[in-house]
């Protein structure tokens, strides 16, 4: 089956032989796993897709599944664009991903325990001390503290890409407050509404079991002496860009969604103010950053947190999820040591590849980077959301000089990696009313509890809607796709 023959909506689909195409092989044949879907989709005209696309958009908008974008003068409400062509991952490929992300999460947890206790990996010279001591995310306050259940990164979001060699690579491990899981579930619902028929032809795993597993994980790390823990989700409030997700998770778990002002600490126990008086809180899934948790310990002017929360946490009367201080391992510089970290704690070889990385803090590697800026992606080590990234082959001569200057001034702040070519996937483009190839990545969600682990069988396939753009973050105009993990036949 060739791509253009029987499907008019693929007329303007130009396969780039330099990139890995998720649905067409190098001879323009549809890959086996996508054949049925491709056939089903060719029954629809371009007009049909246009109509379905609009329906899906207004459905997201009406449901208020939106995020806020802060402009110069006003706040705009935007939907996270949803694409009608789902991404399919077969059972075998998924097995590798699942094992791989679980391995990384466990290694990171062991690494965090070590960093806040004996620090053996540093003493043995495997990870440089400077990486930790210069990190603003290392919290002295929990040095020597044992978090309930021994878990730091209860929730990890691992970002993967498929390179032109057809292999998966991990781009980063998000273990502070990874977001996006609500979109996984919304995308599934939206695709079912739009094209329910296609689900009859594939055996895809459900994604709606995330919330119940999350609640179980939260319950495994309850404080000592608590029988049935009272769990809550804490949010910065309705103006936060991920507020929809916070409310979704609270609702799906059947727990209260609280703000800092709803909680108070008395005698080192945490209570929430309800209509029938104070009620004790045992486990807090927090979606606010460390620095805002407790004005007595961190930013003194933070109104988002709860004064006295850290003392309650350290006394073991409440569990915070993810643990404060995980940010130190959620750092692009730490990422580059992941193969060594996995080997050190688990005595295993990494299942998933790491992108080779150059540390600008090392003089010889800085030299290489300075000479090859045009062939590399240069990233700041501590910025999230796709800001401050420069992609070498997209830069003008002047811009390259500019990057060189920045690197020389502040080498510790940057790392560089070869330009990875993200795989492409057919994506409905409104302007041309056709499917065109666009770059995609994949965020997976891993849960770690005391004696329990879970990887969501599915994930968030993020897609860069602008032609040629490699950055898939929602704040940079990216969209997303439903992602099917197939059951073993």
């Amino acid at each position: 089956m060739k791509k253009t023959n029987d499907n008019p909506t693929f007329e303007s689909y130009n396969r780039d032989p330099k990139l890995f195409d998720e649905i067409f092989d190098e001879n323009d044949n549809v890959r086996d796993i996508y054949k049925t879907l491709f056939n089903l989709y060719s029954e629809h005209s371009a007009k049909d897709f246009g109509r379905l696309n609009n329906k899906a958009k207004s459905s997201f908008f009406n449901q208020g599944i939106t995020f806020q974008v802060y402009g110069d003068h006003e706040i705009k409400e935007k939907i996270f664009p949803f694409d009608l062509f789902p991404r399919i991952i077969d059972a075998q490929e998924w097995e590798l991903i699942e094992k791989g992300v679980l391995q990384r999460s466990k290694a990171l947890n062991a690494f965090l325990w070590d960093l806040y206790h004996d620090k053996n990996i540093i003493k043995e010279g495997i990870v440089p001390l400077e990486l930790i001591s210069s990190s603003a995310n290392y919290l002295d306050q929990i040095n020597g503290f044992d978090p309930p259940g021994g878990i730091y990164n209860h929730i990890s979001g691992t970002d993967l890409i498929k390179h032109s060699d057809g292999k998966y690579y991990v781009l980063e491990d998000n273990i502070r407050c990874p977001s996006g899981v609500s979109y996984v579930i919304c995308n599934r619902t939206a695709l079912k509404r739009a094209l329910f028929g296609v689900f009859n032809h594939y055996q895809a795993h459900t994604v709606t079991d995330y919330a119940e597993n999350l609640l179980q994980i939260l319950e495994t790390v309850k404080p000592k002496g608590v029988d049935v823990p009272n769990c809550v989700v804490i949010t910065p409030g309705i103006y936060n860009s991920a507020y929809y997700e916070h409310s979704y998770l609270a609702k799906a778990m059947g727990v209260e969604l609280v703000e800092g002002r709803d909680l108070f600490v008395e005698n080192d126990f945490v209570y929430m103010k309800t209509i029938s008086g104070p009620q004790k809180v045992d486990v807090i899934y927090r979606r606010i950053d460390d620095q805002f948790l407790d004005p007595l310990e961190f930013k003194p002017d933070s109104a988002l947190g709860v004064p006295g929360l850290m003392a309650a946490y350290k006394k073991g009367n409440v569990c915070l999820v993810n643990a404060p201080g995980t940010g130190v391992a959620d750092d692009k510089a730490i990422y580059t040591y992941m193969p060594e970290i996995i080997k050190y704690y688990l005595d295993e070889d990494p299942i998933l590849n790491n992108v080779p990385t150059y540390h600008c803090s090392r003089p010889d590697e800085l030299e290489y980077v300075l000479e090859n800026v045009h062939n590399l992606v240069v990233k700041p080590v501590d910025e999230a959301g796709g800001y401050g990234i420069s992609i070498g082959n997209k830069l003008s001569k002047d811009e390259i000089e500019e990057v060189r200057k920045t690197l020389k001034e502040n080498p510790r702040k940057y790392i560089a990696q070869p330009i990875m070519s993200l795989s492409v996937h057919p994506t409905y483009i409104e302007e041309t009313e056709c499917f065109e190839p666009r770059h995609v990545d994949l965020r997976t969600f891993t849960l770690l509890g005391a004696d329990k682990e879970f990887v969501l069988k599915g994930g968030l396939t993020r897609v860069a809607l602008q032609k040629g753009n490699l950055i898939v973050n929602s704040s940079q105009g990216g969209g997303s796709k439903d992602t099917w993990v197939l059951k073993n036949n």
């Binding site: 003493k123 002295d140 306050q141 040095n143 108070f264 007595l296 310990e297 003392a311």
Partner: protein, 283 residues
């Protein structure tokens, strides 16, 4: 020989406009350690609110108070009784010079173990080289004693020229300041050389005419490979000993202010406090 101390801490907060909610945290309770033993502590306030006992981020004991009614003025008073062991610091310190001391100081193991107190903070960052030089031909302890007297000689104790946010740049320029400024400076110079150093907040017995006002005092503790943590008081060019009653330590002042508060009120507010320390020799 032991000393018996009576310490009184009294504070008064006034608010221009009535405040509705608040939470105060007091970091003023003397710690129990090898040389000091707290016998009793009592804490009262004019609003008659029940006092909670808690800890701060570094596990030092704190008092917490949370008023439920509106207020525009509040007074606090704490009384502590404790026994302080009089010790000769020089017995604890290895005075012998040894090159190994410097070797251990630079070992990865030692640096990793003491990492927290080797990091520079905004208040303990040296803006440029200072005149003081370490001499590796004498012991670390001797070097630190020299640093102690260097600060005492070069800088003048003067109140109201600096405040809690003053950085070292300014202090090095005006060559004046109070105990916390000299403590920050000492810490910065020691850390620069690779000696773990921490900020100590506590009470000073002023019977002997030392500087320290009638306020909380500040000094430095440094970790020496051969002798552990030793206290230096650069304001008075002393080793911290029986006249120094420790409350808490941290990386710098921001980790151990005696009073932290979250108060919901508009307008200005003022805090005044005084400290009285009296000692008696125990038979």
């Amino acid at each position: 020989m032991n000393l018996e101390y009576n310490i009184r801490y009294a504070a008064k907060n006034t608010y221009e406009n009535e405040a509705s909610k608040a939470l105060w945290q007091f970091l003023i309770i003397p710690e129990n350690n090898e040389t000091q033993q707290l016998i009793s502590d009592e804490f009262t306030n004019s609003l008659k609110i029940q006092v909670e006992e808690s800890i701060n981020g570094y596990n030092f004991r704190t008092y917490k108070i949370r008023p439920k009614e509106r207020f525009d003025e509040v007074e606090f008073q704490a009384d502590f009784k404790l026994i302080k062991r009089v010790e000769n610091i020089f017995e604890r310190v290895s005075l012998e010079y040894s090159k190994d001391e410097y070797k251990i100081l630079r070992s990865l193991e030692f640096r990793v173990t003491n990492d927290v107190f080797l990091r520079s903070t905004a208040l303990t960052k040296l803006p440029h080289q200072v005149e003081f030089q370490f001499d590796e031909n004498i012991s670390l302890f001797e070097n630190l004693q020299n640093l102690n007297s260097w600060i005492k000689n070069e800088f003048t104790f003067k109140t109201n020229v600096t405040d809690i946010d003053t950085d070292l740049n300014h202090i090095l320029e005006i060559k004046q300041g109070v105990c916390q400024d000299f403590t920050h400076l000492f810490i910065a110079i020691a850390k620069e050389f690779g000696i773990p150093a921490r900020y100590v907040s506590g009470y000073l017995h002023q019977g002997n005419g030392y500087f320290g006002d009638s306020q909380m005092h500040a000094w430095v503790e440094c970790c020496l490979p051969s002798s552990g943590w030793i206290g230096f008081d650069p304001t008075n060019n002393l080793l911290a000993a029986e006249n120094h009653i420790k409350v808490a330590h941290g990386k710098d002042y921001t980790d151990c202010p005696p009073l932290k508060g979250v108060v919901f009120s508009s307008g200005k507010n003022e805090t005044e406090y005084t400290v009285q320390v009296s000692a008696q020799q125990q038979q």
